[in-house]
């Protein structure tokens, strides 16, 4: 009986000890968590300050395009005109989608941007500006507002640096960051990113594909056997 009593006492002691340990552990952990929260708050405050220090500059298109006139004047000078030079006196064909169905100008152009009409983006009432889906006018400089109406996913990624090239600084407390706009990379009429040609190559034979001639010789020799 006394042996069982001492055993009972030992078990009780262990129970108390483990409880005390658990409490201690929790308090340590919460202190850690508190510290990290404080650090994080400090961090975000700091980053908020960084944002103020230098801007993220999004390059803007230079403005409404100018159309180069064919031919030169007697002095050999070329000239360019605004869109409105012609379009202010011509009837807009709101249905037109392709270059082939145009009767006079812009016939050499290619369009491959979904199945939309010219006047989905160009403004029939104000030809030196673009047009949003609600019919309101938007300047060529702010073309990204127009693109973002349909390509909101890309616009969201762009806003978080996950779409589109940039240069400058990652740390805005030390310098600004410059970002491309949509039409720096995507031709609005043929927006698919163009194919490229590989230029620079390291003289590196990492996983060089085995020569096909050699392989053929190998199989031929194998067949003979």
């Amino acid at each position: 009986m006394p042996r069982i009593a001492s055993l009972f006492f030992a078990v009780l002691l262990c129970l108390f000890a483990s409880m005390a340990l658990a409490v201690l552990w929790q308090s340590v952990n919460s202190a850690d968590a508190h510290a990290s929260r404080v650090a994080e708050a400090h961090m975000s405050q700091a980053s908020a300050n960084w944002k103020e220090a230098h801007p993220v500059i999004i390059r803007k298109p230079s403005g409404p395009p100018r159309i180069e006139l064919a031919g030169t004047d007697p002095q050999g000078r070329t000239a360019s005109v605004a869109c409105s030079t012609c379009h202010s006196v011509r009837q807009a064909n709101l249905e037109n989608k392709a270059a082939a169905t145009l009767d006079e100008f812009h016939q050499g152009m290619t369009f491959n941007h979904g199945n939309i009409t010219c006047y989905a983006c160009h403004n029939p009432n104000e030809s030196d500006a673009l047009r949003l889906a609600d019919g309101s006018s938007v300047a060529y400089e702010n073309v990204m507002t127009l693109c973002s109406q349909c390509h909101s996913k890309q616009a969201d990624s762009f806003a978080h640096g996950a779409h589109g090239g940039m240069n400058g600084h990652w740390d805005l407390s030390r310098g600004p960051q410059m970002k491309n706009n949509c039409i720096d990379c995507h031709d609005p009429h043929v927006p698919k990113y163009p194919k490229m040609i590989v230029g620079f190559k390291p003289k590196d034979r990492f996983n060089e594909p085995s020569n096909s001639e050699h392989q053929q010789e190998g199989t031929a020799a194998h067949d003979k056997h």
């Binding site: 990624s157 779409h163 940039m166 990379c185 194919k195 490229m196 620079f200």
Partner: protein
Amino acid sequence: MTNTEPNNTQQAESSANRSLPIVENFTRRAVVKGGFATLGAAAFVAAVSPLRQAAKSTTAVEFMQQHYTELSPEQKADVIARLEAETKEKYGADVTIADDRPIPGTKFVYAINLSVCNGNGKCVEACHKENNHDRSTNQSYIRVIEMPKGTMDMEKGSTTYSGIVPKDDKFYLPVQCQQCDEPPCVEVCPVKATWKEEDGIVVVDYNWCIGCRYCEAACPYHARRFNWKQPEVPSEELNPDQSYLSNRVRPVGVVEKCTYCLHRTRRGKLPACLEACPTGARVFGNILDKNSNIRWILENKRVYILKEELGTKPAFFYYFD
């Protein structure tokens, strides 16, 4: 009779001993000895000749230089001044070698959008120029691997593709140092010439590296490069904006690697490969900043970690739109 016979034989033996051509025998042994001694000496000279060459190219000061982490600020200044003078002498270019240290509260992370990367290789070229790589070998810290669609096994890809990209049945996987949180390359270094700094960048002290290339073998991303020869860079092409642990001209026979362009990024700038990328596939930032681009990507995109199963914990992520 029985007594005399052994005497006779002894006499006969002794006479035979006297008549042995002792002198000739000695000469033969000497010749053999001499021959081997000569061979041994020649072998020794051949064996130590790299040392003699090393002595020619290494000054006593350079030989006695301490490990980077043990240098005092004054010693560091001396080392940097010496390296700048050496670059001037060997390459004829005025360069500044800075000692860029981690920015407190930063942990650098890289991400690449594999939905966008088209394998054009501009990042490879930018790295080559920025980091003063050997011109004749087109060395670079980045490899772009052309991969068959449907696998992420980088051993199935190829780096020797050319022509028009992207090809329809391929995708492109740029691989460079992943700045692992558990870097196997650091583990295996027998002389601690490579280590991980507070902002996550794994660096090499090129003056401490012995060129054993263990790290190169240990890296599952094939991210380390060995300088087989003294890098040749024309003086007008040498990037003068250098850092001790980064893009200063490396000596022959040491291992080097991507440092996330620490001579730029520790001054707040973006890495050279990111700025060169025409597709905007590359994203760089500080993961400790809650508002950073990189945090948004990790929280909102489908993210892939290369060879995650190895437990190297890369600070480098691939993502998809």
